[in-house]
């Protein structure tokens, strides 16, 4: 009996190895039509305010891949938390492994951290969720919860000290009778008719997703930096979350790649 189970286990893991593959996602940060350059480059928002960006980073989580027929592959939750930072080139390319072989036409994810993980015990907050480590500047200790999207910079229009602006958007709805705003938003990115083929671990396709940081300021609510130089949790944060839920768009699918390292090199990501 034991023997049979052992052989069965081997067989299952062997089969799995052949039935899954990896993909990479590269996030390309822009402001409108221009590349995002920290500190040096000046931009204008829809309101006409001039600004520079000193920091731009965000969490994505709860990733799903969508097939043409609408069915989805849901990534195991533990493996689907990523902190993407403009200041850290390596963080802008993520690799998802053990994806079942197949053809996918879109991807969706949560912008930020789901409410369960926001409320989970400290032992489940590892890696990019470690509040003493990677997540140290993406967490509110006084109103327990992760910051989902963070952008900081300067603007001559800012009325805050040193012309600084800070947009720290979080809040997951609270737990129990602790109700807060719920700024959790989702993004679904269609590959525009192209097909993502997951084959194996040697052939690793790369999806490039454009993240337009100016969408925090422009959208249903055009943010006047003079009026709202600092937004961290007040009711206005919901307007910025509504704006940024449209900041992701499909920018290309690289099919001719063979492995992750070469991919990164070819795309100049190293």
């Amino acid at each position: 009996m034991k023997k049979i189970i052992f052989i069965l286990l081997c067989a299952v893991s062997l089969a799995n190895a052949q039935k899954t593959g990896s993909i990479s996602i590269h996030f390309d940060h822009v402001i409108g039509n221009e590349p995002l350059v920290l500190n040096d480059k000046k931009y204008k928002n829809a309101d006409g305010d001039e600004f520079k960006v000193s920091l731009f980073q965000y969490f994505i989580s709860n990733i799903r891949l969508i097939r043409k027929d609408g069915s989805t592959y849901v990534m195991p939750q533990d493996q689907s938390y990523f902190l993407i930072r403009e200041s850290n080139k390596g963080s802008k390319t993520i690799t998802l492994a053990n994806i079942p072989k197949g053809k996918f036409t879109a991807i969706s994810f949560l912008i930020g951290i789901d409410s369960a993980r926001n409320a989970s015990e400290i032992g489940q907050r590892k890696g990019c969720l470690d509040v003493a480590g990677e997540a140290k500047d993406m967490y509110w200790a006084w109103n327990s919860g992760y910051i989902f999207v963070k952008m900081e910079g300067t603007s001559i229009q800012s009325t805050a000290k040193n012309n600084i602006f800070m947009y720290h958007i979080g809040l997951f709805g609270g737990i129990g009778n602790k109700k807060t705003l719920n700024n959790i938003r989702y993004a679904t990115i269609d590959f525009g008719g192209e097909t993502l083929r997951v084959k194996d671990n040697k052939f690793v396709p790369v999806i490039t997703i454009k993240t337009d940081a100016s969408r925090l300021l422009n959208g249903d609510t055009n943010v006047e930096i003079a009026k709202n130089p600092t937004v961290m949790g007040g009711p206005f944060s919901a307007k910025i979350a509504e704006n940024y839920k449209t900041m992701f768009s499909f920018a290309g699918l690289d099919k001719l790649t063979t492995d992750i390292d070469k991919n990164r090199k070819a795309l100049g990501m190293n």
């Binding site: 015990e121 907050r125 509040v131 006084w142 809040l171 602790k178 807060t180």
Partner: protein
């Protein structure tokens, strides 16, 4: 035959692995550092994720008293949470932290933490294990980053030894650090006041006529908010204080809800006689001042608690004699054993 042998090796290795990890968690034998007092409700803390052990408690205590948790080594948790005053900042209306900076709130007592589900005057933290990050990282309290604290601890043999004892290995992680502090705080149970002994019908549990009369007045006029054996219903209320700091809107800072503005947590009254000054901003230095506020000082506002606005009158009707008796009763909530327990000090 060969494959059978491999299975045997694999399964015995697996068995060994399980056994080892089991051993690790049992290196530390749980002791009775935390028990639920007979007159208390069920704890709200989930002990299954962090059982209180003697070595975990000792580690937590060492951390609680260590200034290294602050940026410049000067401010420990104990600075604002002094045992003799039920772990409050005696004599300070607002807590006084690093570089002589002053916060916006009065430091609440640390006691009976296992029976609370939300922390701080505004309830912004919902898990004791997440609580300690806030004072450590608050720029006017300890102004340090948690990651730096862990780095400092890793370099000290004293701590690698304490972590080894508490958790079976020297590894200093966020989880271990925070859970050890929780263990120390969970053990801070105050339930041996004269009032407790009276309720539990234990030796020494006698109340004087005035104290007993005070208890009866308390039940009629105070216990709807200061409810149960913890003397709080864990709610957030606007108790009619004139607003001194417009920016501190209390519960509204957390929920962003207009009807939460200027609401603060109903505090427990255990050890109340030693935790002056009172209120979220420490504005009252005596229990007399507190009772005078409730009888004559209530200010009307949109979110004023409805219990303080009854019979076309603001506040709670209390005459001088009733106030004297109430204060006599409140003093029976002082738990000398807790305030002097050597186990909780260094």
């Amino acid at each position: 035959m060969k494959s059978k042998f491999i299975i045997l090796v694999v399964s015995s290795l697996m068995y060994l692995g399980v056994a080892c990890s089991k051993d690790d968690s049992q290196v530390v034998k749980p002791e009775e550092l935390f028990t639920v007092p007979a007159n208390f409700p069920k704890p709200l803390y989930d002990f299954s994720k962090n059982p209180v052990t003697n070595n975990g408690f000792e580690l937590g205590k060492a951390l609680f008293f260590d200034g290294n948790l602050s940026r410049d080594g000067t401010i420990s948790c104990a600075e604002c949470h002094n045992q003799a005053y039920a772990f409050t900042h005696h004599g300070h209306d607002l807590s006084h932290g690093i570089d002589n900076k002053v916060g916006i709130r009065n430091a609440p007592p640390i006691q009976n933490m296992a029976f609370q589900k939300e922390f701080f005057w505004d309830g912004g933290v919902f898990d004791l294990d997440l609580f300690s990050i806030a004072p450590i990282e608050n720029p006017v309290e300890m102004d340090e980053k948690l990651g730096n604290v862990l780095e400092k601890l890793r370099k000290q043999e004293k701590y690698t030894t304490l972590f080894q004892k508490a958790y079976g290995s020297k590894e200093v992680t966020t989880e271990r650090f925070l859970k050890a502090l929780s263990q120390f705080m969970l053990a801070l149970v105050s339930a041996n006041s004269r009032y407790d002994k009276y309720v539990r019908k234990e030796a020494g549990g006698t109340l004087t006529t005035d104290e007993f009369a005070g208890l009866e007045i308390f039940k009629q006029k105070c216990a709807s908010c200061h409810a149960g054996e913890l003397f709080t219903d864990h709610s957030y209320r606007n108790n009619g204080l004139p607003v001194y700091n417009k920016n501190d809107t209390g519960r509204q800072r957390i929920t962003a809800a207009g009807d939460d503005s200027y609401k603060f947590k109903v505090p427990s009254l255990r050890n109340i006689a030693v935790t002056a000054p009172y209120m979220h901003d420490g504005r009252f230095y005596s229990l007399d001042a507190v009772l005078n506020h409730y009888s004559d000082g209530i200010v009307e506002s949109k979110t004023l608690d409805s219990l303080l606005r009854t019979n076309q009158r603001l506040g709670i009707a209390l005459n001088k004699d009733e106030k004297t008796k109430l204060i006599a009763f409140l003093k029976t909530l002082t738990d000398e054993e807790f305030l002097k327990n050597k186990k909780f000090g260094i």
